[in-house]
């Protein structure tokens, strides 16, 4: 328990005039030092609430948060955490370089301001006032502010939400360079491709619970195997569905789509019985499909999935 991050059965309910909102209902996640973890889920899944509790901005109703062996407030006070929150404008009246320097001054062993300006691609705007920046530039400055303290844990709540495609690529390129220093990184996103491309591990959340937790490859595998596409003249739907490892068959003219529980067995049998089949493609289910399947399950289903993962 003294290293890494432990979210221990977190529960958080908000009282609203419309009745209680169960934002987080039993989140249990442990993160090893140096790991990059994506917190993935649709809006309202409880990602931001979980992150606020991880940062000590919000006290859980039940459960506990341990960051590097203590409460998150201690890690924050020691300058071991850097974070980029979802909402949050920049302080006005300072130029970008000053804003970064001011933040750096609060940390015991910050990165050099020039290094961060360079790392975040802010050379062009370093002498501009923070209130004059475009959305994408401001986002990069917010990122610079989060990492200038040289934190051991970097937490990012939907870091690319205001960025265009190019900005997103640049952002993740910067992140890779920072991650190479060995920091632990936790980021929330609803872009599946970001989790897939950048995280070692994805924690899928829905309805305030963890519905899946593992390497992104494993999560994709969880929702049932692969799809075989092939061109086959005179394909017979019924015959194809008797092939071993095939769960479902679609035939459109000569195009055949086989959804498989065991694509290896299915492709061997397919070629054995239909050697004339051509243009064969085998694809893994996208994280997108995994995501939809796991997060749109009703409440009961989500609970079962959570138990299955636990």
């Amino acid at each position: 328990m003294t290293t890494g991050i432990h979210l221990d059965r977190l529960v958080k309910t908000f009282r609203t005039p419309q009745g209680p909102v169960h934002a987080v209902r039993g989140v249990d996640v442990s993160i090893r030092p140096g790991e990059t973890v994506a917190l993935l889920g649709p809006n309202g899944a409880g990602k931001s609430t979980t992150i606020d509790m991880l940062l000590g901005l919000l006290e859980p109703d039940e459960g506990a948060v341990h960051v590097f062996g203590g409460p998150p407030q201690d890690a924050v006070a020691a300058g071991r955490i850097g974070a980029m929150l979802q909402t949050g404008m920049l302080l006005h009246g300072l130029v970008v370089r000053e804003l970064i320097a001011m933040t750096a001054s609060l940390y015991p062993s910050p990165l050099s301001v020039e290094e961060v300006v360079d790392l975040c691609g802010l050379e062009q705007v370093a002498d501009q006032r923070s209130e004059k920046l475009s959305g994408g530039q401001a986002q990069r400055v917010r990122f610079a502010v989060a990492l200038v303290g040289n934190p051991e844990l970097l937490v990012l709540d939907e870091p690319t939400v205001a960025l265009d495609v190019e900005g997103r690529h640049a952002f993740w390129a910067t992140m890779r360079r920072f991650a190479a220093r060995g920091a632990t990184i936790v980021f929330a996103t609803h872009y599946l491709e970001e989790a897939d491309a950048f995280a070692d591990r994805a924690v899928l959340m829905a309805h305030g619970r963890v519905v899946a937790d593992g390497p992104t490859t494993e999560i994709k595998a969880r929702v049932g195997g692969r799809t075989i596409r092939a061109t086959l003249a005179g394909a017979d739907r019924d015959a194809l569905s008797t092939l071993p490892g095939v769960a479902n068959v679609e035939v459109r003219g000569e195009a055949v789509v086989l959804r498989c529980s065991d694509s290896d067995a299915a492709v061997r049998a397919l070629l054995d019985r239909h050697p004339e089949a051509r243009d064969i493609e085998i694809a893994g289910a996208g994280l997108e499909e995994a995501f939809l399947e796991l997060t749109t399950a009703p409440d009961g289903g989500a609970a079962t999935a959570a138990e299955a993962t636990a």
């Binding site: 940062l55 924050v76 020691a78 974070a83 909402t87 920049l90 302080l91 000053e98 940390y107 303290g149």
Partner: protein
């Protein structure tokens, strides 16, 4: 002292905001000139024993410094609304260092405003021994403590939308009942009411020029009592606002 660099940047960005400075410092100066100009020869203003130039120099300084202190509240409310405060709360900056930076900045604004008015007063012929200038400044600095606390409290209780009217209206009323625009005389309802306000004693710092200690025992008691009460309110407001719900 932690947060020293933070305080320096806070000062820098405040004194860089020209429009804000112009409004904060300009209004009391312009009013001073408008009020004192026509009666610059008055040496015993409504039997106070004080010249018009001296009386209004200090009363305008009291108003200017009060507004400068309370502008702290508007700035805090703005940073809360923009989310910058949440960002600060996940840095190692302690609440104490944060509040210290805010109060130091507010005092810097207040003392600049005061200095400008004193310069205007000297231009209108105010002459005091050095000891009395220092005593007056000392009393003003003490009398501003309750307003520093009030600024912090309002900044953490109000929103950006509500704090403007509250401060504009509040400071105008306080200035009115505290003898900023005209001396209140030695008796009457307004006089009695004003005796209980810290802003009245801010204005009364000019009593130094009559010899004696400046404030009566009542004055000290009122200012310190308000300072204590508002400091508790400020801590409460700050804690409530940053409570991890």
């Amino acid at each position: 002292m932690t947060g020293l660099t933070y305080t320096a940047f806070e000062l820098r960005r405040t004194f860089r905001n020209r429009r804000f400075l112009f409004l904060s410092f300009g209004f009391p100066l312009v009013l001073y000139v408008l009020i004192v100009g026509p009666q610059r020869g008055e040496t015993d203003l409504q039997h106070t024993g004080l010249s018009a130039a001296l009386y209004f120099m200090v009363s305008m300084a009291s108003w200017g410094t009060m507004v400068a202190m309370l502008s702290l509240g508007a700035r805090i409310a703005g940073e809360r609304q923009s989310g910058w405060n949440r960002q600060l709360r996940i840095t190692p900056l302690s609440p104490r260092a944060y509040l210290r930076a805010k109060v130091v900045t507010a005092y810097a604004l207040a003392l600049t405003s005061m200095t400008l008015l004193f310069a205007a007063g000297i231009a209108y012929g105010v002459r005091l021994p050095a000891r009395e200038w220092f005593e007056m400044v000392g009393l003003i600095v003490v009398a501003l403590i309750p307003f520093a606390a009030l600024g912090v409290a309002l900044g953490h209780l109000m929103t950006v939308d509500t704090i403007g009217p509250i401060m504009g209206g509040g400071t105008a009323i306080l200035a009115f009942v505290s003898g900023t625009w005209f001396p209140l005389g030695d008796s009457g309802f307004l006089h009695d009411l004003a005796q209980g306000l810290p802003s009245y004693w801010l204005v009364q710092a000019n009593r130094v020029a009559l010899g004696g200690g400046g404030w009566s025992v009542t004055g000290w008691a009122v200012v310190l009592a308000w300072a204590a009460v508002l400091a508790v309110a400020a801590v409460y407001a700050f804690r409530r606002d940053t409570a991890r719900g």
